[in-house]
């Protein structure tokens, strides 16, 4: 479903992705972890071309993302993206936030878009917050609206860029719960996160990145019990203190 073939990316002089090879199957949940600056956010931002790759191939279904003629509007409509900082539209209510893209990109009639928006917001546990503005919601609630905004486009893939890193600890679980449910429904997901509990419990594979390279990728049982690379071991020893 998603395939990276020798993907390279530079920010000026900085080589942030150094030949990534990766295949993600449909309905797979892949967790990507690694120290900050390792290129994990860049990796998923390339998938819907928030960042452009400079070398290699990146193919989604049959669409070539690396091709400058690719129909990005169509592709992006199929891929939900959840940001660390939520990035909700502050001038719109929760319901308006989730219905904007369906109405403007998919040309869904307003009534239908709102029905669907209500349904999805209910699904993420925000049935009573439809008409609240982002500033009136807690961080966890905002992030759930952001997930709902992605889901309202009926995407085939959902990408999460450290979705719980900006949240207070007591709000992390409500967001992870929504993500667990999504995984159970068979959504294809790539999740950049340090929530190793989530990785262990929900993911099919865990990938470790460092200095722009994909060091190791394995099912969670194996990844946590018998990491192969020294760098992975070191990283895990640092974050698995609890």
């Amino acid at each position: 479903m998603i395939e990276f073939k020798d993907v390279h990316k530079w920010f000026g002089e900085l080589h942030v992705l150094k030949g990534i090879n990766l295949k993600v199957e449909s309905a797979e949940v892949l967790v990507v972890c690694g120290p900050s600056g390792s290129g994990k956010s860049t990796l998923i931002r390339c998938i819907n071309r928030l960042e452009r790759i400079q070398k290699g191939e990146l193919i989604i279904d049959t669409m070539k993302v690396h091709d400058s003629k690719a129909n990005m509007t169509k592709l992006r409509a199929e891929i939900g993206f959840v940001f660390q900082q939520f990035n909700l539209y502050p001038h719109m209510t929760a319901l308006q936030n989730v219905t904007l893209a369906p109405m403007k990109v998919r040309k869904t009639p307003k009534k239908e878009a709102e029905d669907q928006g209500r349904y999805v917001l209910e699904k993420v546990g925000l049935a009573d917050k439809l008409h609240q503005f982002p500033a009136q919601l807690s961080g966890g609630q905002q992030q759930r609206v952001a997930i709902a905004r992605g889901l309202c486009m009926r995407p085939k893939i959902m990408l999460f860029d450290e979705p719980t890193s900006a949240l207070d600890p007591e709000m992390i679980n409500e967001v992870l719960e929504v993500m667990r449910n999504l995984a159970r429904e068979g959504m294809t997901m790539i999740v950049v996160t340090h929530e190793m509990g989530f990785a262990r419990e929900v993911s099919h594979r865990v990938a470790f990145m460092d200095f722009g390279e994909l060091i190791e990728i394995a099912p969670p049982g194996e990844f946590f019990a018998h990491p192969k690379s020294e760098r992975t071991k070191l990283f895990l020893s640092k974050i698995l203190t609890h």
Binding site: L50, T73, G80, N87
Partner: protein
């Protein structure tokens, strides 16, 4: 003595009102056109366009770095050189429109750049195209930053319109010049001119203040 002059001044009041009307016409037309052009330039200036952006930047610098009086003379005397007869009125409107567009362009560009990049990324990631992003996500948010100084700029431009009297447009300033030759009481005559400008500018100043207060509350309410 003053009583006599005041009486004379009251007699020439229709003349002043005509001048006021001319000031309103020149400023109104210029602000309208200047706002439209200024928004377009501002959007380009905040974009990543490689050609148009520096071009507009350079033009804005030239206009901001030269006196309006000189600009208006150049426009008034330039067009006949290239074979176009231009009346004082359209020359004034062109010059003031250009000046307005340059200042408004800067305000709009600053407003657009004040919207966090994440907003654009969020809109991009859901498949909204460039225009839809601008229309539904970026512009509504940048208006909070744009509106108060925009209205403030209108006030400055209305006052700058007094310069068009130099090429013979019979605006309220020129009416003052003409009147003071008959009624040799500069203080009185230009006092009246000042009052007339103030009457149109003051509501705008109030509006700008009110917008500033309203916009600064905005949507951070309820959480900080």
């Amino acid at each position: 003595m003053w009583g006599f002059y005041i009486e004379q001044l009251i007699h020439s009041l229709p003349f002043f009102l005509k001048g006021l009307w001319m000031t309103i016409a020149v400023s109104g037309l210029s602000l309208l056109a200047g706002t439209v052009i200024g928004f377009i330039w501002g959007i380009v200036r905040a974009s990543r366009s490689r050609f148009a952006k520096p071009l507009i930047g350079a033009w804005v610098d030239v206009i901001r770095g030269t006196p309006f009086l000189v600009q208006i003379f150049i426009i008034f005397f330039l067009f006949p050189e290239i074979g176009i007869q231009l009346e004082a009125f359209p020359a004034a409107v062109i010059a003031l429109t250009n000046l307005a567009a340059c200042f408004i362009c800067e305000i709009v560009a600053a407003g657009i750049l004040s919207v966090p990049l994440g907003q654009k990324e969020a809109a991009t990631s859901t498949g909204l195209n460039w225009f839809q992003q601008l229309r539904y996500v970026i512009m509504p948010q940048s208006m909070r930053v744009v509106l108060p100084p925009l209205v403030g700029q209108y006030v400055l431009l209305i006052k700058d319109s007094s310069v068009v009297s130099a090429i013979g447009v019979s605006d309220v300033t020129r009416v003052g010049w003409l009147t003071v030759q008959r009624i040799p009481q500069g203080l009185l005559v230009f006092g009246l001119v000042a009052v007339l400008y103030f009457v149109i500018c003051y509501p705008l100043i109030q509006l700008s203040n009110r917008l500033e207060k309203r916009m600064s509350v905005g949507y951070t309410r309820g959480k900080e």
